[in-house]
């Protein structure tokens, strides 16, 4: 709390006067709910935006829960990010297009139902079907028959994906509509989780109290305030919960969660508020985690606007990239919880996974004089002024956008070269983006779905891809991605993706800003706390002392 020392005595006196009148009647009234049982970890949580279904959850808060109560065919190693077999006995393919999946036998849902091949096929069919409104439906887009189950317009002509066939209790086959060599590695994503019969039989009841096959089961769920998860003793996996359970408490504000942690009422905060980053070391000492996550922030451009898509404009974009002092902004505004980006993926992929430190080269190095020269060579800023759009409601984007503009203004030697363009709500911001109303660069963030270089490139830069918000299109890039997906050899596929990333660089399709870290703080009651590469705590590893 900045400035508290000054105001402390003056306001403290007022506080005592006010409190003196109140606390006689029992100001210490704690009530129930705060303190958890002995082996239970209490953790901060945000109210999930969507109903908690595997194929309908696309944000971190809901994902956190699903990660605790579900296990899929694959699971990403918390440290390396490598996709490892979980429920998958084996996944065979000879042509990168037809896969035979064998599910390990003996697994059960926490209500006693067995997990079979059918549990997966039912879940995937449900997720893909248009009538179920699942927001992650596009994950099944590679499976044959998706266009029938989930057409772009009109009503669906089939209820089931024709590419999925159950061939035995524990086996099923998947036929894709194109070659996709790294498809098995995507199966760790929660949208591919199996679902029990109970989900289909009584959907409303299931949503009230989800049942999965993970190390935890839901003990109670009061929407908007608290979810109690308890260790499921019948869990057959090797990654059993090391604690008795987790209480996820919804906080109205992450500052309050942090205060609760400091006061000893909470064990884990997985989102340290920006305003507290200065104090976090003195408050928590070694109990603060700041590790890279698979998140990159970029500035995207509206390529549907002719001003941004004429010859020479790539020089303007490169110039702008050079005009941004990434080091200074990540140090001062983000207190080193972001790392200046030097490519378009994330360090969590590792060298083998396709991360290439310094791929961006000089274009991402701060160089104001060269920046000004390049921008002028490219025909100057379109419209004479740069407006960077961002949503002002969450995420304190204003601070860094202003800093980026300041940096650009300095490079251009013009106070009005760049201004921030705040948009009131996230919904409206997304609205203007999807309706192609942007006239200048806008804030873009990408959190990976699975740790694959494919996930950092294809959805964002492939022609008409789902998250290609700037409508960038490049034939060379598309060709390289197609070839990479068809490649059965993993190393070769990665290198082809890297070549495709080279095309992104040469055109500066988006300006990479910084990689984001996950930050968390925890109490001295718990140990073995770590964040995985999605910046979600690895709850089942946490030990309570």
């Amino acid at each position: 709390m900045r400035g508290a020392t000054h105001a402390k005595w003056a306001a403290g006196a007022a506080a005592i006067a006010l409190a003196a009148t109140a606390c006689g009647s029992g100001g210490g009234g704690g009530g129930g709910g705060g303190g958890s049982g002995s082996g239970i970890v209490s953790s901060s949580w945000g109210d999930p935006q969507n109903p908690l279904e595997p194929a309908n959850t696309n944000e971190v808060q809901g994902g956190k829960v699903l990660d605790m109560i579900f296990r899929g065919l694959k699971r990403y190693d918390a440290k390396t990010g490598a996709a490892q077999d979980m429920l998958a006995q084996k996944i065979d393919t000879s042509d990168s297009q037809n896969f035979t999946i064998t599910v390990k036998s003996g697994w059960k849902f926490s209500n006693g139902e067995a997990v079979t091949a059918q549990s997966f096929v039912d879940a995937w069919n449900y997720g893909a079907s248009l009538k179920n409104n699942q927001k992650n439906a596009y994950f099944f887009g590679y499976i044959d028959g998706y266009d029938k189950v989930h057409p772009d317009t009109g009503t669906q002509s089939a209820d089931k994906l024709s590419g999925l066939k159950v061939t035995g209790t524990d086996t099923f086959t998947v036929k894709l509509n194109q070659k996709f060599s790294t498809f098995p590695d995507t199966l760790g994503y929660v949208a591919y989780a199996p679902l029990p019969k109970a989900f289909f039989n009584d959907h409303a009841a299931w949503l009230k109290k989800p049942v999965g096959n993970g190390p935890y089961s839901v003990d109670s769920y009061s929407k908007g305030s608290l979810m109690s998860l308890r260790k499921w003793d019948g869990y057959p996996g090797t990654d059993k919960a090391q604690n008795d359970g987790v209480d996820l408490k919804v906080y109205t504000d992450n500052n309050t969660a942090y205060t609760d942690l400091i006061a000893g009422n909470l064990d884990l905060v997985d989102d340290v508020p920006a305003s507290q980053l200065k104090n976090v070391k003195s408050d928590l000492g070694g109990r603060y985690i700041n590790t890279p996550a698979g998140i990159i922030q970029t500035l995207a451009f509206p390529f549907y606007d002719k001003n941004w898509d004429k010859s020479g404009s790539e020089k303007v974009r490169k110039g702008l990239s050079m005009a941004i002092d990434r080091d200074q902004i990540t140090n001062t505004i983000f207190q080193k919880t972001r790392t200046p980006a030097t490519d378009w993926t994330s360090p969590v992929l590792g060298k083998d996974g396709g991360f290439q430190d310094g791929l961006c080269g000089g274009s991402c190095t701060y160089n104001p004089t060269e920046a000004k020269k390049l921008i002028q060579e490219g025909g100057g800023l379109p419209g004479g002024q740069l407006k960077i759009s961002y949503n002002a409601d969450t995420g304190s984007h204003k601070e860094w956008v202003d800093a980026v503009c300041h940096s650009v203004n300095n490079a251009m030697g013009n106070d009005k070269a760049c201004v921030g363009n705040p948009i009131g709500t996230f919904a409206d911001f997304r609205n203007q983006i999807t309706q192609h109303k942007m006239s200048g660069p806008f804030r873009a963030g990408w959190q990976m779905d699975y740790p694959l270089i494919q996930n950092f490139l294809q959805p964002l830069y492939y022609t008409n891809a789902s998250s290609n918000d700037g409508k960038w299109s490049n034939k060379d890039f598309d060709k390289l991605v197609d070839r990479a997906n068809a490649e059965t050899d993993r190393a070769k596929a990665v290198s082809l993706f890297q070549q495709a990333e080279g095309v992104v660089r040469d055109n500066m399709a988006a300006i990479p800003l910084w990689y984001q870290n996950g930050s968390a703080g925890y109490s001295d009651r718990v140990s073995h706390v770590a964040l995985n590469q999605f910046s979600v705590p690895v709850y089942n590893e946490i030990k309570v002392s």
Binding site: G27, G31, G34, K131, N133, G224, T256, N265, R430
Partner: protein, 307 residues
Amino acid sequence: MGRYVIRRLLQMIPVFIGATLLIFLMVNVMGDPIAGLCGERQCDPATATQLRKEFGLDQPVWQQYLTYMGNVFTGDFGTAFNGQPVTELMGSAFPVTIRLTIVAILFEIVIGITLGVITGLRRGRPVDSGVLLLTLVVISVPTFVTGLLLQLLLGVEWGWIKPSVSPDAAFGELIVPGLVLASVSLAYVTRLTRTSIAENRRSDYVRTAVAKGLPRRRVITKHLLRNSLIPVVTFIGTDIGALMGGAIVTERIFNIHGVGFQLYQGILRQNTQTVVGFVTVLVIVFLVANLLVDLLYAVLDPRIRYA
């Protein structure tokens, strides 16, 4: 009296319709909420269309409004984006905020009026100046500063309270948040009472009462205070609505899952159903509180009659 109440109740109908329509239009002007539902990526067009249909967002606004009002009269306030009926959200949020408001109003009445009477009777004395100075400080310091400071001092430094309120939000836990919420209004109540008391002290009926030889206590409570309370009651009455709707800051600081929290979430997610539903109820609360205040006048001052 009965006719007056009926007339007032009838007047509420146009206010109610106007207020909901305004809120409805305002939330709609902000654009398509579905766009924000899919996070940083674009919803696939088919799912987006489907969702829009499900929430009725594909209809023209006037039709949406008519359907909405039609549903409201059958007690259906629609569904929030997370699949919960809005009435369920209200069921969990309103009791909490009502408790918080009760605590705040009690503080205003007990502390505010007591201090006001004391200072009003002792005008110009040190007590008076001291309380005036204190109220000035309270009024000038924003609620979030008072809230965060109390939370830091009482919750973290001294450990007297828990910094955050648990989901059940019992009365005991709401004392400090209630005080924070009440603080500014409390200062106004003190000042209002003080001025009113000081003024009426010199009036004829008080002089008569004193001259009749009535005990001081009776003069103050029955004659002086009763008449002086009219402006104060007006203020507290309108404050009920203001406190319930304006609890956003306090609720955020102390992690109270009340109306403020739900409204804030609703606005962030541009959830028309949640926002309009909650505001509608708040409008009703405001109107009823005002009616009660007007009726209380007659109790305080028998000269006031309603025809």
